[in-house]
Symmetry: C3
Subunit: 472 residues, 3 copies
């Protein structure tokens, strides 16, 4: 490089044209030839460098060495007596104890965080190793120093291999993984803070095995802990084997589970007999439109399960299920823009379960939720949410039937209201009114198993919230 | 791109001049035209690329997608009997219990960490969303595995929106935020490890509302927790509304607070009556010079408060204040270079408070601290610190009056001694001698409320420290 | 920039050659001169930019502002009765309590993580400040939410200064540091999950003092905590002074330690008399070949220690050592490729110690381990491990002698099997058979000091593992 620079420098000092000798045509031609050669050289260098810069940028954008991703919400929730609200949240109703959510807007008091630190290692042959670490925390206190209350913990730590050159056929585009993780294909109804299906734990598996042109399947084994058997000096583990199929826009997911040591009776949860086994299935349709009637998205489906599979959302995570437990759940939700100003996101979820915790218990609930957004400017929108839940709960000894209602209005700031329901961060103020049937006030599903169960208390409360929510 | 490259390649193969046909003037001219066009094209490409590279660099420098920032100190503190020192630190005196600091150099035994993980999302229109997560920890143990002692916790988790295109007028340059955070405009006297004002908690607010050419104001609401009321099943929250004004170099900050359920008596803190309300004000002058007499910086001001506002530093964080509590605090500090070798940083803080925890208690203290640095080379300096504190403490039942003295000398390594008092990291060895009036040995402000209060013990101790301190 | 662009634009509009006026030779020459000047200018800009891009890339590669580094393993361990395995791991034998490891493959049930967040600050003069933070966690549970079990903690937090321009002579290439850290020159036998030497704690030191051409030395002081003396209100600290020499391929490391307050008797560990002092030495040879007979690597050496130095691996970390404790340890391990398919990694470690915890106790153990890998494709290999440990244990009151055996076979996926034993991540399935002499079943070294000591239980077990292991 130095030699070349020197050459140019010397060349610049030489007389290229002078008064004392008129140039000949040949001289000029030679100079043109020289210039052309240099220009070509320079053009090449320029193009190579542009390519290199673009490659580096693409690498940095698409597959950076390091990624920081997260979800967080944090804020204040104040009741009408300007006291901190307690006991509120999307699982605040009596049916919340068995996983029945209501609309979340304006009800959340927790400061919750998921921080993901991701390392990618990519070989030139395209093989990629991805390491994923998630730290998470959730506290209610508004204070900044939370060492006492801290729940900071490692929720995910796993590695994935993708694009292995020796994988071929059905496995050509497969991703293999092992460690502790949330399953990649979990999905949620954000407005209710409820996953439709939440498979998580420690294990190993493979994604995207191509069984036919239109059929991809995932296979996995996850382990979970239910606690420990003191007499045996061993943990109670639950092993979940799952096959998850994506056939066009349909999803069909089967899970079977086995927990050898779970058929015990603990003081805290006197199941008639706790389940050792479980079966679980999910059928879902992922539409690219709002129920075929408008642009947008919608997802609809059903979950069924028995035994340990009767916990329909968090597959295999509940060891207190009865041997005979049976449950079925329906869900549907979607989002669409009505016009330039208004967007709507209805959501529905309902479940029927029986012999769930004790023989002869029976639980029915259904939640309907609508979130609406009304854009006023590029950065400001009003968000509205109405939520209703019907409950018919019978824990085999006492029962209660009734309804829960919530209405929320939330002035909201965001970077771009046009970007839709799922653009974050949102900074919001929210006012909510919540009420419910008085029959439900003192009812608790766990009355038989928990000496001091939490109940809904009295309804008819106004709540004020200041909150940020973000993901990236 | 490929077609163009091919064209050039073919062009390079064509005879541009040959022996069998002399070029005409027109040929030459045509070739010059061609070269010129190509050169212009190349110049443009070069300039565009330079612009792109510069933009990417600027983006990476000024507003990177991810930022890692932190503060940490870690080291050993050994006493003259080569034992681990305990009970030392900037709040080691009897008055430390009510927030009276002394000079920190050579007294700190804790391994303290603040690690910030920041995500920026910037739109092309300049609107920016900033997510801020802070993890913090503080332990005394010198061991590496600290799971038992760990205080690791989430101290901040918030989102900010800046540069919203629809904000105009006084709000044109405003930043809005919500979540859990340290207020942006907190500032400290580093040498005493004491914030002048430390407003923190969970809430929402807006910065930099331009009320006139020279007047910016911040508005915020912060919530804090004082604990829980078991009988009521509710948390005791304190809500703090603040207006913080920057008028030229003056700062005027008003805070009012309201904690509805705090007027209770706990076994641990029998206040005459705990306060439900509080008022707090800060007046400060931020000078761009060392008290107008030398280049450097200095800050001087006063804080006053009553009720819950009588905790003057950590606004609204102390629920154990008496209904009648009153407090006033003065502070001043600055830094300047005396010459190429010596720099000086004097600091002063004093407080008078009464009816603070119990009726008729009365506390006076004043701390004077001087830190000096003497640069020997680009990387080595001697740092000296002298600290004095006067205390006149009356907890309404017993009283003590006396003084605390400390002298420290600290050989210090750093990247650049010329960069001043606030350049970090510093790796330091420190020897300190601390002593105090024997009257203070067994005195504790909390004698009435804490059955086994910590006391200062005997003075006259030499301490040896090995420590790193950094921020970035 | 804009003016220049405009100039070019205008120039492009001007007629550079036309039909109505034939150009002269001088015209052409002038145009060639112009073109040449512009080309030279452009060439320079191109070269400068290439240099700049290369510099930025080099900075990003070699000394990035931020680095994320880590180690993690996570997976399931299931026994032949499809229960979660407990009590397994490289320290599962009776001698594990005094630090005797066996081969780790297929035995680990923990989800263990080390996440390092590193900040580099580099001055133009080459001086560099490096901040290092390590978070670590280790839990057994397979669940994702581990707040209850979490051991998340800060294991390292330190700063280093390198390349200080005022350092010269022997210190010219020295690195100085202070804070909490793992010593830089610790090294391990990965296959046994055992450091050969693990020096860690809080302190300060200097690396790479060049004592002669072939001799580099490190000096450091580390503090560690053994617990607290309640009567004295003081922590029991142990201070370790170390000189660590690298002379060619030889390493000679001396450590002396002093723990003034450790000569006490606690209920949990009735040492005849606990040690106040300790001496420790390591002699090691780091070979660039597999014992001189094949390409690869190998390390061989000896450790000896007395008093507090009798904990040979984790220097100065065990406060329960007897005043008369003496120990000696031998180790050797290496890795080499046998051919394109097979690689081998033998490892050996043995220790003799006496008067270790109580007077007249005596412990001998020796472990031999072989790991073999057999590459089948670029991404798949079979890994085999055989492990044997001999134990002759006498805790001064009861004794046991016997052997432990393990055989493991592990089908393994990785990015590149050709990259050798230390390339990660590895995703592995493993089947192991472990057995031991029945004499050892109920033996525990700590029988005299721990009322309910853990024992090996019965041998003859088959274990199944699904695991990822990574570092980067």
């Amino acid at each position: 490089m130095k030699i070349k620079a020197l050459t140019f420098a010397i060349a610049a000092l030489l007389p290229v044209s002078s008064a004392w000798a008129a140039p000949t045509m040949a001289d000029l031609e030679q100079r043109i030839n020289d210039l052309q050669a240099r220009l070509e050289h320079n053009e090449q260098a320029q193009q190579e460098q542009a390519k290199q810069v673009a490659q580096e940028q693409e690498q940095a954008d698409n597959n950076p060495l390091f990624e920081f991703k997260g979800y967080a919400r944090s804020g204040l929730l104040v009741n009408e007596d300007h006291q901190g609200a307690t006991g509120t949240g999307p699982y605040m109703t009596a049916a919340g104890a068995i996983g029945a959510p209501v609309g979340r807007l304006g009800l959340e008091d927790t400061n919750y965080l998921e921080a993901n630190f991701i390392h990618n290692r990519q070989l030139d042959n395209g093989a990629n190793a991805r390491f994923h670490l998630m730290l998470a925390d959730g506290v209610e206190t508004s204070n900044d120093w939370t060492a006492e209350e801290s729940d900071l913990n490692v929720r995910q730590v796993y590695s994935e291999l993708t694009g292995l050159p020796t994988f071929s056929g059905a496995f050509a585009n497969a991703t293999v993984w092992a460690g502790k993780r949330f399953d990649r294909d979990n999905f949620d109804i954000h407005f209710m803070d409820s996953d439709v299906v939440f498979l998580a734990g420690t294990g190993a598996g493979v994604y995207d095995v191509q069984l036919s042109d239109d059929w991809k399947a995932n296979f996995s084994i996850y382990g979970r802990d239910f606690g420990s058997v003191e007499s045996a000096g061993t943990d109670i583990e639950n092993y979940i084997a799952t096959m998850n199929n994506h056939i066009g826009q349909w999803q069909v997911m089967f899970s079977a589970m086995d927990s050898k040591d779970n058929d015990r009776v603990t003081a805290k949860a006197p199941a008639s007999k706790r389940a050792n086994h479980g079966l679980h299935a999910l059928f879902a349709y992922h539409a690219n439109s709002f129920y075929g009637i408008n642009p947008g998205m919608s997802k609809t489906g059903m979950l069924i399960g028995s035994g340990l599979g009767a916990e329909l959302k968090s597959i295999g995570s509940d060891g207190n299920l009865n041997d005979d437990a049976k449950a079925v759940r329906l869900f549907s939700f979607g989002t669409t823009d009505i016009n330039e100003t208004w967007s709507i996101a209805p959501a529905f979820m309902a479940e029927y379960s029986k012999d769930r915790i004790l023989n002869h218990d029976k639980y029915k609930w259904a939640t309907a939720n609508v979130r609406l957004s009304q854009a006023f400017t590029e950065n400001f929108e009003m968000v509205y949410e109405g939520s209703y839940q019907y409950m018919d709960l019978d824990n085999s000894q006492t029962s209660a039937t009734g309804s829960y209602y919530k209405a929320t209005i939330a002035p909201t700031l965001k970077l771009s209201t046009a970007a839709g329901f799922f653009d974050r961060p949102e900074l919001r103020f929210a006012v909510s009114y919540v009420d419910w049937s008085s029959d439900l006030d003192n009812y608790a599903i766990s009355t038989q198993t928990d000496p001091k169960p939490a109940t809904m208390g009295n309804g008819g409360e106004t709540l004020f919230a200041l909150q940020m929510e973000t993901w990236f």
